[in-house]
């Protein structure tokens, strides 16, 4: 097999392994649109990275976290609902990113690669960044797991029980920013959220515990990456969107499986 395909597979699966468990939380906490908004701001992070000459991945993380903080501040006013705020922030930050990219002189940015991913061009350096970022994200998620689950189920109850809600929520935002930066190369800014929520949603039917759902989400994500890459090579389709299509197909198949017997078998606690 060609080298670039191996790199694409390794990079894609590493991203899927992190996006699955994190995506489960995105789904449980109803934050899909929030994830989208953070992802859309990533392009501005890319432009800033080129502008000040910092590592692009770093500026993406910084910008996503900044946006999350801005959103928190804006939520303190009650006049505009959260989905309106998210709509404003998502599209204005994406547009601002596109405008900023146009202003960059002397730098040719492959806009399509950032918007829709360029997994077949994943380099050794990209792989190292993906692995380090992925391991860091999984480690953080493992450390935050129980308190994060507790505030997801009931925030007030968790707070009375001593969970430091603000700290945990901020950790979660940081995690999302990290995963967006890591996954950007694979599926692109516009499609990152799908790699988080589609495998997680598909895994729900197969799971009786939160941990199992996270695990299945990671596995389904890996399958989607493999299937999407295969489809992309076979029919010469764009790789990022092909991965998302593969994930959607897996979701459709799992949801149309004849349910009862399968569910009973999988749901019986071990």
């Amino acid at each position: 097999m060609d080298d670039f395909i191996v790199r694409a597979l390794l990079g894609g699966m590493a991203v899927a392994l992190v996006a699955g468990p994190l995506g489960s939380f995105v789904v449980w906490r109803r934050m899909a649109y929030f994830g989208d908004t953070l992802a859309h701001s990533a392009l501005l992070g890319v432009a800033l990275g080129f502008l000040i000459g910092l590592n692009v991945n770093l500026t993406v993380v910084i910008l996503c976290v900044t946006l999350a903080l801005v959103l928190m501040l804006l939520q303190r006013q009650r006049r505009l609902a959260t989905d309106t705020l998210l709509g404003i922030l998502a599209h204005s930050s994406l547009s601002l990113g596109l405008v900023a990219v146009a202003f960059l002189e002397g730098v040719r940015i492959d806009l399509m690669a950032y918007l829709f991913g360029d997994i077949l061009a994943v380099s050794h350096e990209d792989l190292i960044w993906i692995f380090l970022g992925g391991v860091l994200a999984l480690g953080m998620l493992a450390a935050l797991w129980r308190p994060l689950l507790a505030i997801t189920v009931h925030e007030d109850l968790a707070r009375v029980e001593g969970v430091r809600v603000t700290l945990v929520s901020m950790g979660f935002m940081l995690l999302m920013a990290l995963v967006i930066a890591v996954a950007m190369k694979v599926v692109g800014i516009l499609l990152i959220t799908s790699l988080m929520i589609i495998p997680a949603a598909a895994a729900r039917r197969l799971s009786s515990t939160p941990e199992r759902m996270a695990l299945f989400a990671a596995l389904i994500g890996c399958l989607a990456v493999a299937g999407g890459l295969w489809g992309s090579l076979t029919w010469d389709t764009p790789a990022g969107p092909s991965i998302v299509v593969a994930a959607a197909l897996l979701f459709a198949v799992i949801f149309s499986l004849p349910g009862a017997a399968l569910l009973r078998r999988l749901r019986t606690p071990s």
């Binding site: 789904v27 189920v153 007030d156 009375v160 029980e161 603000t166 929520s169």
Partner: protein, 282 residues
């Protein structure tokens, strides 16, 4: 997603009076231009059951949240005994179908506990058979017991229960209140609970606080379950263990809701200072 105000922790440097687990001192809360709590003074002591009653919108749940530290009062002070461990049972809890979670895992979210404690608590509240069920599949009454179990697993000094008998039929309500009284006896913890009904309060409550933005009155509930008038009114539909709380207001409200002191009842300053739009039901 959370409001930034929670980044700033309220300082609880004062300590409540001897014996009190938690106390409110002239606590007021204004939210969105509306006064929800006004000059509330109250305390819960170890081993005592205090019940908050009052009409809809009286601020009962808000007062609980202020005492729990979930909301910051805009006036006054909340005093908590240092190191106080609270077991909290929120009003209702709805776990989304998308989150697969069994009762066992739900109980484990409150912390790690020794295995024998889990078995004991489950036996006490009577929900051991639900342990492996998905949380979404249990009934409202079962969920109340599960929430109570999660609060008890912490071996709390203070139990705070927001409408513990909600979603439970009338016969079951009596059981819930008896269970709470038994738990108080066993653990020696203080209990603070909200009851939605104005006039129906459990006989075991040591004191009742009637709240309507401010504290209208406090006192012991009278046991009238054997009173002929009570039986005539309610027949046998009321389970044993429940009693009418006889209201001894030191003031009444006129048609506009203004406070009018009863004649010959001493100075009128004791209740309802400056209450606007304040009415008693029943």
């Amino acid at each position: 997603m959370f409001p930034l105000s929670r980044l700033i922790r309220s300082r609880d440097d004062a300590v409540p009076a001897r014996g009190a687990l938690v106390a409110a001192r002239q606590v007021g809360l204004v939210a969105g231009g509306r006064r929800i709590l006004d000059g509330v003074d109250m305390a819960v002591e170890a081993g005592r059951i205090v019940t908050l009653i009052g009409p809809n919108g009286a601020g009962k749940t808000t007062l609980l949240k202020v005492l729990l530290g979930l909301l910051s009062p805009t006036g006054g002070q909340v005093l908590r005994r240092p190191g106080l461990r609270i077991g909290y049972m929120p009003q209702r809890i709805q776990v989304d179908e998308i989150l697969p979670i069994t009762v066992r895992r739900f109980l484990g979210l409150g912390g790690r506990f020794p295995r024998d404690r889990l078995a004991r608590v489950l036996a006490e509240v009577g929900c051991a058979h639900l342990l492996e069920q998905p949380v979404q599949s249990v009934s409202g009454g079962e969920m109340q017991r599960i929430l109570l179990a999660r609060a008890l697993l912490r071996e709390p000094h203070l139990l705070v229960l927001d409408e513990p008998a909600q979603g439970v039929d009338v016969a079951g309500q009596g059981e819930v209140f008896q269970l709470i009284a038994r738990l108080r006896d066993r653990y020696g913890c203080g209990v603070l609970m909200v009851s939605h009904e104005l006039h129906l309060v459990m006989a075991a409550a040591d004191s009742v606080i009637c709240l309507n933005q401010h504290v209208c009155c406090t006192g012991k509930p009278d046991v009238v379950s054997r009173d002929p008038a009570y039986l005539k009114l309610f027949g046998k539909t009321m389970p044993a263990g429940m009693a009418l709380y006889t209201h001894h207001h030191d003031h009444r409200h006129d048609l506009h809701g203004d406070v009018v002191a009863f004649e010959g009842e001493g100075p009128p300053g004791r209740g309802c200072p400056g209450s606007e739009a304040h009415r008693h039901h029943g």
